[in-house]
Amino acid sequence: MDEILRVENLNFEYPDAPVLRDVSFTLNKGDFLGIIGANGAGKSTLIKLILNLLPCPKGAITLFGEDISSFKDAHKIGYVSQKSNAFAKNFPATVEEVVAANLYSQKKLFSRYTRADRERVRDVLSRVGMDGYLDKPIGKLSGGQQQRVFIARALVAEPELLLMDEPTSGVDAANAAAITDIITDLNSRGMTIVMTNHDTPALFKISSVLLIFCEHGNGEFVKKTDLTLDEVNDIFAGRRKHHHA
């Protein structure tokens, strides 16, 4: 199995509160990790630590066999943030400009945006069901359509690991279902996924492994096949502790 992500004894605290305590897990190629937890449990913090957007004070994070402090292959990781669509709605940018921006990780300083790049942008937009939106202003799209564009932006760099923080938050039911289908399809093609979501049943359905935060930080890493949804809810509610075999 190709190891993609390893988190070992990770601890993190903000000045006013501890968030993550002794979190450890390993993801291999093709795994789909669903992170379940209440608000403030540390789900987004964990994703930011994996992305090296926050300093990692205690513990270790390894990406593709390399410590995150020296990891440089930005294009291997895609990220869809909870607040991707928090930009000003009258920001003058087209869907094409937004998606193409993320080709940066594979471009040099003086390189130009080529016809092949445009085809790549068209292709990823097609994969997220946004054909024909290339020249549309990003601010004129609905929240769900914008979120699909941000998934396309993450995909254009052809990542091997995709991290998504509440990608269906604030999105209408039809778009949420479409986004779930896109993510499931990506995973079935071998992409490793890490995703947080408040909708535990939905996340339980599509993920292969789960990290459950019952209260501040003590994440339980379990294989979905070991548990039923009711047992997951019990761990989440602190009524049960899972014992690894």
């Binding site: 992305l51 957007l53 440089k72 930005a74 294009h75 990781i77 990220y79 943030s81 991707s84 930009f87 009258n90 920001f91 003058p92 940018a93 087209t94 400009e97 937004v98 921006a101 993320n102 940066y104 990780s105 471009k107 300083l109 003086f110 945006y113 020249d135 202003p137 932006r153 760099a157």
Partner: protein, 267 residues
């Protein structure tokens, strides 16, 4: 009334204005879209202190303006980090320092009228050296903006995503600040230090109402800035008005008309 192009100083003014109108929107687009428009104001007031300093010690005032503007933008960037989440505090502190210093140093300049000409802009005072300096720095700002266009867009639209893609965001932010300092300094001669921030913001604000993309916003704002400055020079020459003020007022009138004309489309 003599023909406008028979006057050597007006030819220099048109050339300098054309260069300033080309580079102002290049950096103005980034400032407006990153919601840093007030930095133009803070930098221009610091530039004024540099102009007073240049006049006081007898060096070219634009060089003094560049020096003080660079200190100002570095100060803003440092203070923005100290007041994370309240970045506007940094802008106000630096602007206050610039105004205070300009007021103190102005007492030591030999000619109050020279300082006035930099505050409100002047076409008569543009020397050959000013023109060459404007051309050289204008080409530098335009070239850097063109070379870093991918990085500037990405950092402006989503700084976090840009950082994850490997864009050196801290360096790009420093470059934005340096380009702002240079643009404000060279423009203070003709448009006036107190009015240059308008030229950074107004053409971009009008272009945002007309453009459908980032690329279009930059191109339209350059065309508008050229139209405002060249139109402003013509009007100010024949109506005997202040050139900087006329350029800015033409821009404000155009922006108001555009806002009214496009209000339905933007709703």
């Amino acid at each position: 009334m003599p023909d406008i192009f028979s006057q050597g100083f007006m030819l220099r003014a048109f050339l300098a204005a054309g260069i300033i109108a080309l580079v102002s929107p290049c950096i103005g687009t980034t400032l407006v879209l990153k919601r840093l428009s007030a930095i133009g104001d803070a930098t221009s007031h610091s530039a004024l202190a540099g102009i007073a300093f240049g006049l006081m010690i007898g060096i070219n005032p634009i060089l003094g303006a560049i020096l003080f503007s660079i200190f100002a933008v570095l100060g803003i960037e440092t203070l923005r980090r100290a007041f994370k989440g309240y970045g506007e505090i940094a802008t106000v502190v630096v602007m206050s320092a610039g105004i205070g210093l300009a007021a103190v140093l102005s007492r030591f300049t030999s000619s109050a009228s020279s300082l006035d000409s930099f505050m409100f802009g002047s076409v008569i005072a543009i020397s050959d050296f000013d023109l060459w300096l404007t051309a050289a720095l204008g080409v530098a700002v335009a070239a850097v903006s063109l070379i870093l266009r991918k990085e500037l867009f990405f950092v402006t639209f989503d700084e976090e995503a840009a950082k994850l893609a490997g864009v050196p965001t801290h360096t790009v932010n420093l470059v934005i600040m340096a380009l702002t300092a240079v643009t404000v300094s060279v423009a203070s001669r003709i448009v006036g230090a107190l009015m240059i921030s308008s030229l950074l913001v107004i053409p971009v604000a009008a272009a945002m109402m007309l453009a459908k993309s980032y690329k279009q916003t930059i191109l339209i704002s350059i065309l508008l800035a050229e139209a405002f400055t060249i139109g402003g020079l013509f009007v100010s020459y024949y109506a005997d008005l202040s050139p900087g003020g006329t350029i800015v007022l033409i821009g404000v009138i155009f922006l108001s008309v555009t806002a009214l004309a496009t209000r339905k489309r933007r709703m």
